[in-house]
């Protein structure tokens, strides 16, 4: 089989992993080497599904010993199979990188023989890239549940990011759909990676030349819609992962039906709007100081598909609005729909020179179509005749530009690049 066919099969097999980010690492080039990382990450293309392409995302092989029901590579699936050799992966990475197609490599794999054996093969590839080829571009690899701590610790010295995919957001879901994975087999290595990151950061403070360990942090992915888990459960899990495991990113992937199983739901199409709502809420957790419990509760455990989580929150808490743009503190401004991290900072800075008027706000990149219902400017309210949440809600949903949902979607997916405050 030639490399072209292998690439076709093994990138197709990798496409359900939504992580594409090349951010969080400032790895520098060395003399005679090739490549460097960019702290904010760089997107190199966008595929026909609108997702960013930043890394060469492939599986080393799609021959798998496991039979997870939701997964396209499950052993019982009748599927074209292929394996790329380390030489081939290295050659593709370097030559794609030289042509500026990619920021680096995202290497994952199905499980061949055993988790340890698979991780040894991944280690072999990343070691060659770094030590033989002098490659200093971005490398993201999977850490495979049940693999020895020893191997994961070694790979961590070569890569920029590692991820262990939780995929199914509850233990029940795992039992049902991925019987070879357990909660413990995922959370134990995640905890180990977190500890090693913290330890090496401390070492680096003392010894300048200490090795970094996974400088871009770790991430994970949750599949949305393959199990019955509601948004509240998913968001609480993410919150726990950010707080307890210092994860850099949690990715959400709308379940694409790739298999039929009595344990899997029947879907007409992937729940992409739900996925988008989760990303928006995730953003609110990480950059807007929201808590999961503020956004959802047992009475309302799923996001409203017609309106974004921040607007929804504001309407349910209409009593604290409107806030005065010229007085409200930074954290209060952050909670106003239509005001982002950047524009909140701009408001705080610009009003030092004198009170801001309504025209000034337009210039500060505030989305007034949304914000106007929740603010006053020099005491004047520009929204509706009364602050009736139901009426505002209708205005927000129907009064907006029809394209707003798509625009918003693309903004979130850009990951706030160019905004230094939003390192992912």
């Amino acid at each position: 089989m030639d490399v072209l066919d292998k690439l076709r099969i093994l990138s197709d097999a990798a496409k359900y992993d939504v992580s594409c980010s090349s951010s969080g690492s400032g790895r520098k080039n060395k003399k005679g080497g090739i490549g460097s990382a960019s702290i904010n990450g760089i997107c190199h293309s966008w595929s026909d599904d609108g997702r960013c392409i930043s890394l060469l995302k492939i599986l080393m092989t799609n021959y798998c010993i496991y039979d997870c029901a939701y997964c396209v590579n499950r052993s019982s699936n009748d599927l074209e199979r292929a394996t790329l050799t380390p030489d081939e992966i290295v050659d593709l990475t370097i030559n794609f990188y030289r042509r500026n197609y990619i920021e680096g490599l995202f290497l994952s794999s199905a499980i061949i023989k055993s988790p340890n054996h698979t991780m040894e093969l991944i280690l072999n590839v990343v070691k060659r890239l770094r030590e033989v080829e002098g490659f200093n571009g971005y490398i993201h690899t999977k850490a495979i549940p049940h693999a020895d701590k020893r191997i994961i610790d070694e790979i961590g010295l070569y890569v920029d990011r590692m991820s262990i995919n939780i995929e199914l957001p509850s233990e029940n879901g795992l039992k049902l759909l991925a019987p070879n994975k357990t909660k413990k087999s995922i959370l134990t290595p995640m905890g180990n990676i977190r500890n090693r990151i913290v330890e090496t950061r401390e070492e680096k403070k003392k010894f300048k030349y200490a090795n970094s360990f996974v400088p871009g942090g770790q991430s994970t992915q949750l599949i949305v819609g393959a199990t019955e888990d509601n948004d509240l459960k998913i968001l609480k899990l993410s919150e726990g992962l950010y707080d307890g495991y210092n994860l850099k990113r949690v990715y959400y992937s709308a379940y694409v039906p790739v298999a039929k199983s009595p344990n899997l739901p029947v879907l007409d199409s992937p729940p992409v709007i739900r996925e988008n709502r989760l990303y928006q809420a995730d953003w609110l957790l990480r950059f807007y100081k929201f808590k999961a419990d503020e956004l959802l509760d047992e009475n309302m455990p799923n996001f409203d598909l017609s309106l974004d989580p921040k607007c929804n929150w504001a309407l349910r808490n209409i009593g604290i609005f409107p806030v005065e743009i010229n007085r409200a503190d930074y954290n209060t401004l952050l909670r106003v729909p239509g005001i982002g991290v950047k524009s909140a900072r701009r408001i705080v800075a610009a009003r030092k020179f004198g009170p801001l008027n309504y025209d000034n706000l337009k210039k500060l990149n505030i989305v007034l179509k949304r914000a106007k219902y929740f603010i006053t400017c020099n005491g004047k309210y520009y929204g509706m005749s009364s602050m009736n949440p139901e009426k505002i809600r209708k205005k927000l949903i129907y009064g907006l530009d029809r394209n707003i949902f798509e625009k918003q979607l693309s903004l979130w997916e850009m990951g706030g690049f160019n905004d230094k405050s939003l390192h992912i």
Partner: protein, 247 residues
């Protein structure tokens, strides 16, 4: 009479125009590059000499009395080549010398807002280009890329590629402006290019292009097909040189 300052179009020339605006009673109503000068009966044209020493003085004054960030913003605004940007830059500098470092925060001010928003546009395109440039390997192993960006950014994009491709020879050719960056593993220069370059590709070049096209196709999830989102992230104007988009 309306005063038009006419400069040579270089950044140094523009800094000289700023210098002149400070030290002569004839204040400018417009600052125009030689190419953009307007034939008008009522205009008094004042030609600006490009004096490296004066340029340096203004450069350093902006750097120290305002801030390095402000200097960068002015430079990016200049690279935008937008009509009339020179006067906005002058107004920004005037205000900057009054207010100092804090000028950038004063976004409610017209001049500050203008420079800031143009700076954002230029840096946005610069960032995009760091991802969207496609090198092709020539017979002699030189990496060659063609671009035609909205803004004149070859000079501010070169350092990015020099860092990561320090051990390669490369050319980035701005077809719109007929200028190129050349890098030879040691130094880089920007030069005007007249006529077409004689280009012979490396024998393996096509193979890698085919591999990339294949990758681009198979990494997309059909069920999530979303060409609108694709276009808003990667506007069509950039497709011309994108291998995966038939460029």
């Amino acid at each position: 009479m309306i005063n038009h300052y006419i400069y040579d179009g270089s950044f140094d020339g523009l800094l000289n125009a700023i210098y002149k605006a400070y030290y002569t009673p004839d204040k400018p109503d417009k600052i125009l590059s030689y190419e953009k000068r307007e034939d008008n009966f009522l205009v008094k044209e004042i030609l600006i000499d490009t004096d490296a020493k004066k340029a340096k003085k203004v450069y350093e004054a902006i750097d120290k009395k305002i801030s390095p960030a402000a200097l960068r913003k002015i430079y990016y605004a200049y690279l935008s080549e937008i009509d009339g940007i020179e006067m906005d830059i002058l107004n920004f500098v005037r205000l900057g010398f009054k207010i100092g470092t804090d000028i950038e925060l004063n976004l409610a001010n017209e001049a500050v807002f203008k420079i800031e928003s143009i700076y954002n546009k230029v840096s946005h395109e610069r960032h995009r280009m760091t991802g969207l440039i496609r090198f092709k390997e020539l017979k002699n192993n030189i990496l060659y890329a063609e671009i035609s960006p909205d803004y004149n950014l070859v000079g501010i994009i070169a350092p990015h590629f020099i860092k990561r491709l320090s051990n390669e020879n490369f050319i980035i050719h701005d077809k719109k402006r007929n200028i190129s960056v050349f890098y030879n593993k040691k130094e880089w220069i920007v030069r005007e290019i007249k006529g077409d370059l004689n280009i012979i590709f490396n024998e393996k070049e096509e193979d890698y292009q085919n591999l990339w096209k294949m990758y681009f196709k198979s990494i997309s999830i059909k069920e999530k097909f979303n060409p609108k989102l694709q276009r808003s992230n990667m506007p069509k104007k950039y497709w011309k040189y994108l291998i995966e988009k038939g460029g």
